[in-house]
Symmetry: C2
Subunit: 138 residues, 2 copies
DNA sequence: ATTTGTGCAAATCGTTTGCATCTGA
DNA sequence: TCAGATGCAAACGATTTGCACAAAT
């Protein structure tokens, strides 16, 4: 427990953030398992379930702080809510439309070739591939 | 003018929609030029500018009707607002992050290869490639 | 002591909905 | 006639903000 906490504290400190009780708890939920895709709401209820008292405002604050610090990556797949991905490396996504579930696709599994020229004075900030998947209607 | 109107009316009729004054006016704004990327707000103000009286609710209704009818395609690039594309063919997008501007990339200009297997019982509903572009900071 | 974070409730923004009224077939 | 469209205003859900209080350095 101390080990994990220490790791998280260092991680948080490196991001120039103060390791507060709530922040550590959220980091713990986010970064202790494998890769995760969460929304503010799911993280909030998860926190409450585990007895961590945090307000939604704090959830949003920290999701944004973590994102700015490069600890999270925002994934835009749904017009109505924001997803955050704990996998910040270069990769893509399956999006299961019915249940709003995301799954990583490692960058190596998709070849994006022949990207057209971009306007002078601009830089590519990311190339996002989203494969939307639906259950068969039979 | 009649020619255009007639074309639009047929288009609307084929979509099983009634060619009402507002609907025709909106279709005219959407489908008379080349390919366009619009939001509810931009379409609304454009309509008002041209003296077409339409409520926002009607704009939303019709954007959705047109989308369901396959006359428009929704593009999810920005968590805070929805874009609709008059180009419904298979293609991708540049997204200029600073000004929220979209630009088409024809499907032929990007090769997406080696798409991984999708779960049994599911079908790919679309493969969206978004190249996010930012102005250089110099 | 000073700066940063937190929680609450109110405010905001895009979008949707309910309902009375109008309009096209 | 009458289903389908429209407009308005109210409702909505996700996100944000303002501000008083609490915690970290």
């Amino acid at each position: 427990m101390t080990a994990i906490k220490c790791d998280l504290e260092t991680k948080i400190r490196k991001a120039n953030l103060r390791p507060t009780r709530q922040r550590i708890a959220l980091a713990n939920l986010l970064f202790s398992g494998g890769n995760r895709h969460i929304t503010a709401e799911t993280l909030h209820s998860e926190a409450l379930e585990k007895g961590v008292k945090v307000s939604l405002a704090t959830i949003y604050n920290n999701l944004h702080h973590f994102t700015e610090a490069g600890l999270l990556r925002e994934v835009v797949v749904d017009a109505s809510k924001s997803y955050f991905d704990t996998n910040t490396s270069d990769h893509h996504h399956f999006f299961f439309e019915e249940d709003g579930y995301l799954e990583d696709i490692s960058a190596g599994h998709i070849n994006v070739k022949d990207i057209p020229d971009i306007p002078v004075g601009t830089t590519i900030s990311s190339v996002d591939v989203i494969i939307r998947v639906r259950k068969n209607t039979e």
